[in-house]
Protein backbone atom coordinates (compact mmCIF):
# COMPACT_ATOMS: atom_id res chain seq x y z
CA UNK A 1 0.00 0.00 0.00
CA UNK A 2 1.62 3.21 -1.14
CA UNK A 3 1.32 5.96 1.39
CA UNK A 4 2.36 8.48 -1.17
CA UNK A 5 -0.97 8.07 -2.86
CA UNK A 6 -2.60 10.29 -0.24
CA UNK A 7 -3.04 13.45 -2.19
CA UNK A 8 -4.81 15.95 0.00
CA UNK A 9 -3.35 19.39 0.18
CA UNK A 10 -3.99 19.66 3.84
CA UNK A 11 -2.74 16.38 5.17
CA UNK A 12 0.88 17.00 6.04
CA UNK A 13 1.56 13.33 5.72
CA UNK A 14 0.81 13.32 2.02
CA UNK A 15 4.28 14.65 1.43
CA UNK A 16 7.13 12.21 1.29
CA UNK A 17 7.54 12.43 5.02
CA UNK A 18 6.62 8.87 5.80
CA UNK A 19 8.55 7.29 2.97
CA UNK A 20 11.63 6.88 5.12
CA UNK A 21 12.07 3.94 7.42
CA UNK A 22 12.84 5.91 10.56
CA UNK A 23 10.38 5.69 13.41
CA UNK A 24 7.38 7.85 12.60
CA UNK A 25 7.51 10.19 15.57
CA UNK A 26 11.03 11.34 14.87
CA UNK A 27 10.36 12.06 11.23
CA UNK A 28 7.12 13.82 11.95
CA UNK A 29 8.58 16.11 14.55
CA UNK A 30 11.45 17.20 12.33
CA UNK A 31 9.19 17.76 9.38
CA UNK A 32 7.05 20.23 11.27
CA UNK A 33 9.66 22.88 10.85
CA UNK A 34 10.11 22.50 7.12
CA UNK A 35 6.52 22.21 5.95
CA UNK A 36 4.51 25.19 4.82
CA UNK A 37 2.65 26.48 7.79
CA UNK A 38 -0.81 26.86 6.42
CA UNK A 39 -4.00 26.67 8.31
CA UNK A 40 -2.31 24.71 11.03
CA UNK A 41 -0.28 27.74 11.93
CA UNK A 42 -2.59 29.12 14.54
CA UNK A 43 -2.56 25.85 16.40
CA UNK A 44 1.15 25.26 16.22
CA UNK A 45 2.55 28.61 17.12
CA UNK A 46 1.41 28.79 20.67
CA UNK A 47 4.16 31.24 21.42
CA UNK A 48 2.90 33.82 18.96
CA UNK A 49 -0.81 33.42 19.16
CA UNK A 50 -1.81 32.79 22.66
CA UNK A 51 -4.86 34.94 22.36
CA UNK A 52 -6.23 32.89 19.49
CA UNK A 53 -8.46 30.06 20.67
CA UNK A 54 -7.11 26.65 19.90
CA UNK A 55 -9.18 24.45 17.62
CA UNK A 56 -9.73 21.22 19.47
CA UNK A 57 -12.64 19.50 17.77
CA UNK A 58 -11.50 16.87 15.34
CA UNK A 59 -14.04 14.18 14.64
CA UNK A 60 -17.60 14.04 15.78
CA UNK A 61 -19.89 11.13 16.54
CA UNK A 62 -22.19 10.56 13.59
CA UNK A 63 -25.65 9.20 14.38
CA UNK A 64 -26.98 6.16 12.62
CA UNK A 65 -29.40 7.05 9.79
CA UNK A 66 -32.34 5.76 11.80
CA UNK A 67 -33.64 5.96 15.34
CA UNK A 68 -32.04 3.72 17.92
CA UNK A 69 -35.18 1.62 18.22
CA UNK A 70 -35.71 1.30 14.48
CA UNK A 71 -33.93 -2.02 14.13
CA UNK A 72 -36.09 -3.83 16.69
CA UNK A 73 -36.59 -6.73 17.15
CA UNK A 74 -33.48 -7.80 15.26
CA UNK A 75 -31.12 -5.44 17.00
CA UNK A 76 -32.51 -4.03 20.21
CA UNK A 77 -32.52 -0.41 21.19
CA UNK A 78 -30.41 -1.33 24.20
CA UNK A 79 -27.72 -2.73 21.94
CA UNK A 80 -27.74 0.41 19.81
CA UNK A 81 -27.60 2.56 22.92
CA UNK A 82 -24.57 0.79 24.29
CA UNK A 83 -22.86 -0.02 20.99
CA UNK A 84 -23.30 3.41 19.47
CA UNK A 85 -23.62 5.53 22.58
CA UNK A 86 -20.81 3.96 24.58
CA UNK A 87 -18.47 2.01 22.31
CA UNK A 88 -18.60 4.17 19.19
CA UNK A 89 -18.65 7.37 21.18
CA UNK A 90 -15.74 6.06 23.24
CA UNK A 91 -13.68 5.51 20.11
CA UNK A 92 -14.43 9.04 18.88
CA UNK A 93 -13.46 10.60 22.17
CA UNK A 94 -10.33 8.51 22.50
CA UNK A 95 -9.34 9.44 18.96
CA UNK A 96 -9.87 13.13 19.61
CA UNK A 97 -7.78 12.88 22.73
CA UNK A 98 -4.97 11.23 20.82
CA UNK A 99 -5.15 13.75 18.01
CA UNK A 100 -4.95 16.59 20.48
CA UNK A 101 -1.50 15.36 21.37
CA UNK A 102 -0.31 14.82 17.84
CA UNK A 103 -0.53 17.87 15.61
CA UNK A 104 0.95 16.19 12.61
CA UNK A 105 -2.15 14.10 12.05
CA UNK A 106 -4.41 17.11 11.96
CA UNK A 107 -5.93 17.92 8.62
CA UNK A 108 -6.34 14.42 7.29
CA UNK A 109 -9.67 13.07 6.25
CA UNK A 110 -10.77 9.95 8.04
CA UNK A 111 -9.79 7.72 5.12
CA UNK A 112 -6.33 9.21 4.95
CA UNK A 113 -5.92 9.01 8.69
CA UNK A 114 -6.70 5.31 8.63
CA UNK A 115 -4.29 4.60 5.80
CA UNK A 116 -1.52 6.64 7.34
CA UNK A 117 -1.84 5.32 10.87
CA UNK A 118 -2.04 1.74 9.60
CA UNK A 119 1.52 2.34 8.57
CA UNK A 120 1.71 -0.70 6.32
CA UNK A 121 0.94 -3.23 8.99
CA UNK A 122 2.73 -1.60 11.86
CA UNK A 123 -0.09 0.51 13.18
CA UNK A 124 0.33 3.67 15.18
CA UNK A 125 -1.71 3.97 18.37
CA UNK A 126 -4.28 6.18 16.65
CA UNK A 127 -5.11 3.48 14.13
CA UNK A 128 -7.34 1.47 16.36
CA UNK A 129 -9.53 4.38 17.32
CA UNK A 130 -9.62 5.97 13.87
CA UNK A 131 -10.43 2.71 12.14
CA UNK A 132 -13.10 1.77 14.65
CA UNK A 133 -14.80 5.16 14.29
CA UNK A 134 -14.91 4.67 10.53
CA UNK A 135 -15.92 1.04 10.80
CA UNK A 136 -18.86 1.79 13.01
CA UNK A 137 -20.05 4.68 10.84
CA UNK A 138 -19.93 2.31 7.91
CA UNK A 139 -21.68 -0.43 9.86
CA UNK A 140 -24.66 1.69 10.92
CA UNK A 141 -25.10 2.72 7.32
CA UNK A 142 -24.86 -0.88 6.19
CA UNK A 143 -28.09 -1.62 8.00
CA UNK A 144 -31.59 -0.29 7.68
CA UNK A 145 -35.00 -0.94 9.17
CA UNK A 146 -36.73 -3.41 6.90
CA UNK A 147 -33.45 -4.56 5.49
CA UNK A 148 -32.42 -7.98 4.28
CA UNK A 149 -34.15 -9.41 1.22
CA UNK A 150 -32.42 -9.35 -2.11
CA UNK A 151 -30.35 -6.71 -3.78
CA UNK A 152 -31.52 -5.51 -7.17
CA UNK A 153 -30.13 -4.30 -10.46
CA UNK A 154 -26.46 -3.51 -10.66
CA UNK A 155 -25.26 -4.90 -7.40
CA UNK A 156 -27.22 -8.10 -7.88
CA UNK A 157 -25.70 -8.52 -11.30
CA UNK A 158 -22.22 -8.05 -9.95
CA UNK A 159 -22.83 -10.53 -7.12
CA UNK A 160 -24.14 -13.08 -9.57
CA UNK A 161 -21.15 -12.52 -11.77
CA UNK A 162 -18.61 -12.96 -8.97
CA UNK A 163 -20.35 -15.53 -6.77
CA UNK A 164 -22.46 -17.46 -9.28
CA UNK A 165 -25.65 -16.73 -7.38
CA UNK A 166 -26.93 -14.63 -4.52
CA UNK A 167 -27.60 -17.74 -2.47
CA UNK A 168 -24.01 -18.78 -2.86
CA UNK A 169 -22.79 -15.37 -1.83
CA UNK A 170 -25.03 -15.42 1.23
CA UNK A 171 -23.74 -18.83 2.21
CA UNK A 172 -20.13 -17.78 1.79
CA UNK A 173 -20.67 -14.59 3.76
CA UNK A 174 -22.27 -16.42 6.65
CA UNK A 175 -19.56 -19.05 6.58
CA UNK A 176 -16.88 -16.39 6.73
CA UNK A 177 -18.62 -14.80 9.68
CA UNK A 178 -18.87 -18.07 11.56
CA UNK A 179 -15.28 -19.12 10.96
CA UNK A 180 -13.93 -15.82 12.11
CA UNK A 181 -11.99 -16.20 15.37
CA UNK A 182 -12.26 -13.56 18.04
CA UNK A 183 -13.08 -9.92 17.43
CA UNK A 184 -13.29 -8.62 13.90
CA UNK A 185 -15.41 -7.78 10.91
CA UNK A 186 -16.60 -9.42 7.71
CA UNK A 187 -16.79 -7.31 4.58
CA UNK A 188 -18.12 -7.49 1.08
CA UNK A 189 -15.55 -5.49 -0.85
CA UNK A 190 -14.91 -4.46 -4.39
CA UNK A 191 -11.32 -5.29 -5.08
CA UNK A 192 -9.72 -2.52 -7.06
CA UNK A 193 -7.08 -4.51 -8.85
CA UNK A 194 -9.03 -7.66 -9.46
CA UNK A 195 -12.16 -5.67 -10.34
CA UNK A 196 -14.43 -8.10 -8.60
CA UNK A 197 -16.43 -8.47 -5.42
CA UNK A 198 -14.94 -10.54 -2.62
CA UNK A 199 -15.64 -11.46 0.98
CA UNK A 200 -12.93 -10.43 3.40
CA UNK A 201 -12.45 -11.19 7.10
CA UNK A 202 -10.49 -8.75 9.21
CA UNK A 203 -9.58 -8.80 12.86
CA UNK A 204 -10.03 -6.10 15.45
CA UNK A 205 -10.06 -2.71 13.76
CA UNK A 206 -8.56 -3.52 10.39
CA UNK A 207 -10.69 -2.61 7.40
CA UNK A 208 -10.29 -3.01 3.63
CA UNK A 209 -9.36 0.65 3.18
CA UNK A 210 -5.85 -0.22 4.25
CA UNK A 211 -5.53 -2.44 1.20
CA UNK A 212 -7.10 0.20 -0.98
CA UNK A 213 -10.22 -1.86 -1.61
CA UNK A 214 -13.72 -0.43 -1.57
CA UNK A 215 -16.03 -1.82 1.12
CA UNK A 216 -19.64 -2.36 0.18
CA UNK A 217 -21.17 -4.03 3.26
CA UNK A 218 -19.79 -4.79 6.69
CA UNK A 219 -20.79 -6.93 9.63
CA UNK A 220 -19.47 -6.31 13.14
CA UNK A 221 -18.37 -9.56 14.75
CA UNK A 222 -17.06 -8.13 17.98
CA UNK A 223 -19.03 -9.74 20.76
CA UNK A 224 -20.35 -6.38 21.91
CA UNK A 225 -22.32 -6.13 18.67
CA UNK A 226 -24.57 -9.07 19.47
CA UNK A 227 -24.04 -10.22 23.00
CA UNK A 228 -26.94 -8.41 24.61
CA UNK A 229 -29.38 -9.74 22.02
CA UNK A 230 -28.03 -13.16 21.12
CA UNK A 231 -25.49 -14.02 23.84
CA UNK A 232 -23.09 -16.50 22.31
CA UNK A 233 -25.34 -17.45 19.39
CA UNK A 234 -23.33 -15.81 16.65
CA UNK A 235 -24.97 -17.90 13.96
CA UNK A 236 -28.40 -16.49 14.77
CA UNK A 237 -27.03 -12.95 14.73
CA UNK A 238 -25.36 -13.38 11.36
CA UNK A 239 -28.44 -14.96 9.81
CA UNK A 240 -30.65 -12.22 11.20
CA UNK A 241 -28.31 -9.63 9.78
CA UNK A 242 -28.50 -11.14 6.31
CA UNK A 243 -32.25 -11.66 6.43
CA UNK A 244 -33.50 -8.56 8.17
CA UNK A 245 -30.87 -5.88 8.63
CA UNK A 246 -28.46 -5.53 5.74
CA UNK A 247 -29.15 -2.49 3.62
CA UNK A 248 -28.84 -3.31 -0.06
CA UNK A 249 -29.80 0.28 -0.83
CA UNK A 250 -26.66 1.49 0.87
CA UNK A 251 -24.70 -1.23 -0.89
CA UNK A 252 -26.08 -0.14 -4.26
CA UNK A 253 -25.14 3.48 -3.60
CA UNK A 254 -21.63 2.48 -2.57
CA UNK A 255 -21.33 0.24 -5.60
CA UNK A 256 -22.39 3.05 -7.90
CA UNK A 257 -19.78 5.31 -6.38
CA UNK A 258 -17.17 2.59 -6.55
CA UNK A 259 -17.71 2.30 -10.28
CA UNK A 260 -16.35 5.80 -10.65
CA UNK A 261 -13.02 4.41 -9.46
CA UNK A 262 -13.03 0.87 -10.74
CA UNK A 263 -13.76 0.00 -14.33
CA UNK A 264 -16.02 -2.99 -14.21
CA UNK A 265 -16.34 -3.30 -17.96
CA UNK A 266 -18.00 -1.58 -20.81
CA UNK A 267 -21.75 -1.09 -20.50
CA UNK A 268 -23.78 -2.78 -23.16
CA UNK A 269 -25.02 0.10 -25.24
CA UNK A 270 -27.28 -1.07 -28.02
CA UNK A 271 -26.18 -0.02 -31.47
CA UNK A 272 -28.79 2.05 -33.30
Amino acid sequence: MNLLSCSSNHCPLSSKVLASTSPPSKILKSSVRVRNLGWGERRDNMRNNRRVSKVVAYYGLKSPPYRLDALEPYMSQRTLEVHWGAHHRGYVEALNKQLAKNDILYGCTMDELIRVTYNNGNPLPEFNNAAQVWNHDFFWESMQPGGGEMPTLGILQQIEKDFASFANFKEKFIEAALTSFGSGWVWLVLKREKKCLAIVKTSNAVNPLVWNDIPIISLDLWEHAYYLDYKNDRAKYVNTFMNHLVSWNAAAARMARAQAFVNLGEPKIPVA
Binding site: V82, G121, G182, S203, N204, A205, V206, W222, H224, K231
Partner: protein, 273 residues
Protein backbone atom coordinates in the same frame (compact mmCIF):
# COMPACT_ATOMS: atom_id res chain seq x y z
CA UNK B 1 11.32 -36.96 27.94
CA UNK B 2 8.85 -35.41 30.30
CA UNK B 3 5.97 -36.11 27.99
CA UNK B 4 6.57 -39.84 27.91
CA UNK B 5 6.89 -40.13 31.68
CA UNK B 6 3.56 -38.38 32.05
CA UNK B 7 2.00 -40.70 29.52
CA UNK B 8 3.11 -43.93 31.08
CA UNK B 9 1.66 -42.96 34.41
CA UNK B 10 -1.82 -43.20 33.00
CA UNK B 11 -3.29 -46.12 31.16
CA UNK B 12 -5.27 -45.45 28.06
CA UNK B 13 -8.98 -45.40 28.53
CA UNK B 14 -11.10 -48.21 27.15
CA UNK B 15 -13.08 -47.90 23.94
CA UNK B 16 -10.78 -45.62 22.00
CA UNK B 17 -11.96 -44.05 18.77
CA UNK B 18 -9.66 -45.41 16.14
CA UNK B 19 -6.67 -47.51 16.94
CA UNK B 20 -4.70 -44.56 18.22
CA UNK B 21 -6.88 -44.21 21.29
CA UNK B 22 -8.11 -40.73 20.59
CA UNK B 23 -9.70 -39.43 23.73
CA UNK B 24 -12.35 -36.81 23.62
CA UNK B 25 -12.53 -33.95 26.05
CA UNK B 26 -15.44 -33.01 28.20
CA UNK B 27 -16.54 -29.94 30.05
CA UNK B 28 -15.00 -29.84 33.53
CA UNK B 29 -17.39 -29.01 36.35
CA UNK B 30 -17.04 -25.78 38.21
CA UNK B 31 -15.94 -26.23 41.82
CA UNK B 32 -18.61 -23.71 42.89
CA UNK B 33 -22.12 -22.61 41.94
CA UNK B 34 -22.73 -20.28 39.07
CA UNK B 35 -24.00 -17.62 41.44
CA UNK B 36 -21.22 -18.02 43.97
CA UNK B 37 -19.04 -15.30 42.52
CA UNK B 38 -21.67 -12.56 42.76
CA UNK B 39 -21.52 -9.60 42.75
CA UNK B 40 -18.12 -9.55 41.09
CA UNK B 41 -19.26 -11.80 38.26
CA UNK B 42 -22.95 -12.47 37.80
CA UNK B 43 -24.42 -15.96 37.78
CA UNK B 44 -25.79 -15.40 34.25
CA UNK B 45 -22.36 -14.70 32.88
CA UNK B 46 -20.84 -17.70 34.65
CA UNK B 47 -23.52 -20.00 33.35
CA UNK B 48 -23.32 -18.87 29.74
CA UNK B 49 -19.55 -18.64 29.86
CA UNK B 50 -19.25 -22.18 31.16
CA UNK B 51 -22.12 -23.99 29.48
CA UNK B 52 -22.07 -22.25 26.13
CA UNK B 53 -18.68 -20.75 25.37
CA UNK B 54 -16.40 -23.27 27.04
CA UNK B 55 -18.58 -26.12 25.83
CA UNK B 56 -18.39 -24.78 22.28
CA UNK B 57 -14.61 -24.72 22.44
CA UNK B 58 -14.59 -28.31 23.65
CA UNK B 59 -17.05 -29.50 21.03
CA UNK B 60 -15.13 -27.87 18.23
CA UNK B 61 -11.84 -29.07 19.66
CA UNK B 62 -13.05 -32.66 19.69
CA UNK B 63 -14.30 -32.29 16.16
CA UNK B 64 -11.00 -30.90 14.99
CA UNK B 65 -9.09 -33.66 16.75
CA UNK B 66 -11.19 -36.31 15.09
CA UNK B 67 -10.60 -34.73 11.73
CA UNK B 68 -6.90 -34.52 12.52
CA UNK B 69 -6.84 -38.16 13.47
CA UNK B 70 -8.48 -39.07 10.19
CA UNK B 71 -6.16 -36.89 8.17
CA UNK B 72 -3.08 -38.33 9.79
CA UNK B 73 -4.28 -41.87 9.24
CA UNK B 74 -4.75 -41.05 5.58
CA UNK B 75 -1.46 -39.22 5.35
CA UNK B 76 -3.25 -36.08 4.24
CA UNK B 77 -0.62 -33.51 5.09
CA UNK B 78 -2.41 -30.46 3.79
CA UNK B 79 -5.50 -31.15 5.90
CA UNK B 80 -3.31 -31.69 8.93
CA UNK B 81 -1.79 -28.28 8.44
CA UNK B 82 -5.14 -26.65 7.74
CA UNK B 83 -6.59 -27.96 10.97
CA UNK B 84 -3.88 -26.40 13.12
CA UNK B 85 -5.57 -23.06 13.53
CA UNK B 86 -8.85 -24.64 14.58
CA UNK B 87 -7.01 -26.86 17.04
CA UNK B 88 -5.04 -24.00 18.43
CA UNK B 89 -8.06 -21.75 18.76
CA UNK B 90 -10.42 -24.28 20.28
CA UNK B 91 -7.80 -26.21 22.20
CA UNK B 92 -6.37 -22.99 23.48
CA UNK B 93 -9.82 -21.85 24.50
CA UNK B 94 -10.36 -25.10 26.38
CA UNK B 95 -6.98 -24.93 28.12
CA UNK B 96 -7.41 -21.30 29.05
CA UNK B 97 -10.90 -21.64 30.40
CA UNK B 98 -10.04 -24.74 32.41
CA UNK B 99 -7.37 -22.71 34.13
CA UNK B 100 -9.71 -19.76 34.50
CA UNK B 101 -12.35 -21.68 36.48
CA UNK B 102 -9.65 -22.73 38.91
CA UNK B 103 -8.43 -19.16 39.15
CA UNK B 104 -11.75 -18.05 40.63
CA UNK B 105 -13.22 -18.86 44.01
CA UNK B 106 -16.15 -17.57 46.01
CA UNK B 107 -15.26 -15.06 48.68
CA UNK B 108 -16.24 -17.44 51.46
CA UNK B 109 -13.82 -20.02 50.10
CA UNK B 110 -10.88 -17.67 50.08
CA UNK B 111 -11.49 -15.74 46.89
CA UNK B 112 -9.65 -12.47 46.92
CA UNK B 113 -7.39 -13.36 49.84
CA UNK B 114 -3.90 -12.20 48.99
CA UNK B 115 -1.27 -14.90 48.58
CA UNK B 116 0.98 -15.86 51.43
CA UNK B 117 4.06 -18.01 51.29
CA UNK B 118 6.52 -18.08 48.44
CA UNK B 119 4.22 -16.55 45.84
CA UNK B 120 3.39 -13.60 48.09
CA UNK B 121 7.07 -13.10 48.69
CA UNK B 122 7.91 -13.33 45.00
CA UNK B 123 5.24 -10.77 44.18
CA UNK B 124 6.55 -8.36 46.77
CA UNK B 125 10.03 -8.90 45.49
CA UNK B 126 9.19 -8.36 41.86
CA UNK B 127 6.37 -5.82 41.88
CA UNK B 128 6.80 -4.04 45.19
CA UNK B 129 3.43 -4.88 46.60
CA UNK B 130 0.44 -6.76 45.39
CA UNK B 131 -1.53 -3.67 44.45
CA UNK B 132 1.15 -2.77 41.95
CA UNK B 133 0.76 -6.16 40.31
CA UNK B 134 -3.01 -5.76 40.21
CA UNK B 135 -2.70 -2.32 38.70
CA UNK B 136 -0.30 -3.57 36.06
CA UNK B 137 -2.53 -6.45 35.09
CA UNK B 138 -5.58 -4.21 34.99
CA UNK B 139 -3.78 -1.67 32.82
CA UNK B 140 -2.65 -4.34 30.38
CA UNK B 141 -6.06 -5.96 30.38
CA UNK B 142 -7.83 -2.68 29.72
CA UNK B 143 -5.42 -1.70 26.97
CA UNK B 144 -5.76 -4.99 25.17
CA UNK B 145 -7.55 -4.46 21.85
CA UNK B 146 -10.23 -6.92 20.93
CA UNK B 147 -10.25 -10.35 22.52
CA UNK B 148 -7.61 -11.96 24.67
CA UNK B 149 -6.26 -12.84 28.08
CA UNK B 150 -4.03 -11.21 30.61
CA UNK B 151 -1.78 -13.59 32.52
CA UNK B 152 0.38 -13.70 35.58
CA UNK B 153 2.88 -16.41 34.84
CA UNK B 154 6.19 -17.69 36.03
CA UNK B 155 9.15 -18.25 33.80
CA UNK B 156 10.38 -21.66 34.82
CA UNK B 157 13.91 -21.16 33.56
CA UNK B 158 14.49 -17.67 34.80
CA UNK B 159 12.49 -18.26 37.99
CA UNK B 160 10.74 -14.96 37.52
CA UNK B 161 7.16 -13.69 37.53
CA UNK B 162 5.86 -12.16 34.33
CA UNK B 163 2.71 -10.34 33.31
CA UNK B 164 1.75 -11.10 29.73
CA UNK B 165 -1.16 -10.70 27.42
CA UNK B 166 -2.16 -13.03 24.66
CA UNK B 167 -4.39 -11.17 22.29
CA UNK B 168 -5.44 -10.18 18.81
CA UNK B 169 -2.65 -8.28 17.11
CA UNK B 170 -2.45 -6.71 13.67
CA UNK B 171 0.98 -8.30 13.29
CA UNK B 172 1.10 -11.88 14.33
CA UNK B 173 3.77 -12.93 16.78
CA UNK B 174 5.89 -15.20 14.70
CA UNK B 175 7.77 -17.82 16.56
CA UNK B 176 8.33 -21.22 15.02
CA UNK B 177 8.15 -24.11 17.36
CA UNK B 178 9.95 -27.25 16.37
CA UNK B 179 7.66 -30.09 16.92
CA UNK B 180 3.94 -30.12 17.40
CA UNK B 181 2.24 -27.31 19.23
CA UNK B 182 0.30 -29.96 21.06
CA UNK B 183 3.47 -31.25 22.58
CA UNK B 184 4.40 -27.83 23.83
CA UNK B 185 0.93 -27.33 25.26
CA UNK B 186 1.10 -30.55 27.15
CA UNK B 187 4.51 -29.93 28.58
CA UNK B 188 3.58 -26.61 30.02
CA UNK B 189 0.17 -27.11 31.47
CA UNK B 190 -0.19 -28.32 35.00
CA UNK B 191 0.21 -32.10 35.13
CA UNK B 192 -3.11 -32.71 36.88
CA UNK B 193 -4.90 -31.18 33.95
CA UNK B 194 -2.77 -33.19 31.56
CA UNK B 195 -3.47 -36.61 32.91
CA UNK B 196 -7.20 -36.14 32.77
CA UNK B 197 -7.19 -34.68 29.34
CA UNK B 198 -4.35 -36.32 27.56
CA UNK B 199 -5.36 -37.64 24.22
CA UNK B 200 -2.38 -37.19 22.02
CA UNK B 201 0.11 -39.78 23.06
CA UNK B 202 0.57 -41.32 19.69
CA UNK B 203 -0.27 -38.32 17.59
CA UNK B 204 2.73 -36.37 18.80
CA UNK B 205 5.09 -38.82 17.25
CA UNK B 206 3.55 -38.23 13.85
CA UNK B 207 3.11 -34.49 13.82
CA UNK B 208 6.20 -32.63 12.90
CA UNK B 209 5.05 -29.32 11.66
CA UNK B 210 6.50 -25.90 12.34
CA UNK B 211 4.02 -23.12 12.11
CA UNK B 212 3.55 -19.52 13.02
CA UNK B 213 1.68 -18.47 16.11
CA UNK B 214 -0.99 -15.86 15.92
CA UNK B 215 -3.59 -14.09 17.89
CA UNK B 216 -6.28 -14.63 20.40
CA UNK B 217 -7.19 -17.51 22.68
CA UNK B 218 -3.57 -18.51 22.78
CA UNK B 219 -2.39 -20.21 25.89
CA UNK B 220 0.38 -18.42 27.75
CA UNK B 221 2.89 -20.90 26.46
CA UNK B 222 2.71 -19.23 23.05
CA UNK B 223 4.52 -16.26 24.49
CA UNK B 224 7.41 -18.43 25.61
CA UNK B 225 7.81 -22.16 26.05
CA UNK B 226 8.98 -21.90 29.64
CA UNK B 227 6.07 -19.75 30.83
CA UNK B 228 3.66 -21.40 33.23
CA UNK B 229 0.33 -19.68 33.90
CA UNK B 230 -0.52 -18.89 37.50
CA UNK B 231 -3.49 -16.62 36.96
CA UNK B 232 -5.36 -15.76 33.82
CA UNK B 233 -8.12 -13.21 33.37
CA UNK B 234 -10.40 -13.58 30.40
CA UNK B 235 -10.95 -10.19 28.80
CA UNK B 236 -13.03 -11.37 25.87
CA UNK B 237 -16.20 -9.35 25.92
CA UNK B 238 -18.29 -12.44 26.64
CA UNK B 239 -16.60 -12.65 30.04
CA UNK B 240 -18.12 -9.41 31.28
CA UNK B 241 -20.47 -7.83 28.79
CA UNK B 242 -23.81 -8.73 30.27
CA UNK B 243 -22.85 -7.15 33.56
CA UNK B 244 -20.31 -4.44 32.82
CA UNK B 245 -21.12 -3.63 29.18
CA UNK B 246 -18.21 -1.74 27.71
CA UNK B 247 -16.64 -0.79 31.02
CA UNK B 248 -13.89 -3.38 31.08
CA UNK B 249 -11.86 -1.56 33.75
CA UNK B 250 -14.71 -2.07 36.27
CA UNK B 251 -14.73 -5.79 35.54
CA UNK B 252 -10.99 -5.96 36.05
CA UNK B 253 -11.24 -4.04 39.30
CA UNK B 254 -13.93 -6.32 40.70
CA UNK B 255 -12.62 -9.66 39.58
CA UNK B 256 -9.78 -9.48 42.07
CA UNK B 257 -12.33 -9.97 44.84
CA UNK B 258 -12.84 -13.54 43.67
CA UNK B 259 -9.39 -14.48 42.46
CA UNK B 260 -8.18 -17.77 43.91
CA UNK B 261 -4.66 -17.04 45.03
CA UNK B 262 -4.42 -20.42 46.73
CA UNK B 263 -4.40 -22.18 43.38
CA UNK B 264 -1.82 -19.78 41.98
CA UNK B 265 0.38 -20.38 45.04
CA UNK B 266 0.15 -24.13 44.59
CA UNK B 267 1.21 -23.97 40.96
CA UNK B 268 4.00 -21.54 41.81
CA UNK B 269 5.33 -23.75 44.58
CA UNK B 270 5.35 -26.71 42.25
CA UNK B 271 7.24 -24.87 39.51
CA UNK B 272 9.64 -22.96 41.71
CA UNK B 273 10.10 -24.99 44.88
Amino acid sequence: MALRTLVTRKTLRTLPLGFRGLQTFSLPDLPYDYGALEPAISGDIMQIHHQKHHQAYITNYNKALEQLDGAIAKGDASTVVKLQSAIKFNGGGHVNHSIFWKNLAPIREGGGEPPKGSLGWAIDNHFGFIDALIQKMNAEGAALQGSGWVWLGVDKELKRLVVETTANQVNSVVSPINGPLIQVLLLNVEPVLLLEDIGFQNLTAQCGVCFTLEYIGDPLVTKGPSLVPLLGIDVWEHAYYLQYKNVRPDYLKNIWKVINWKYASEVFEKECP
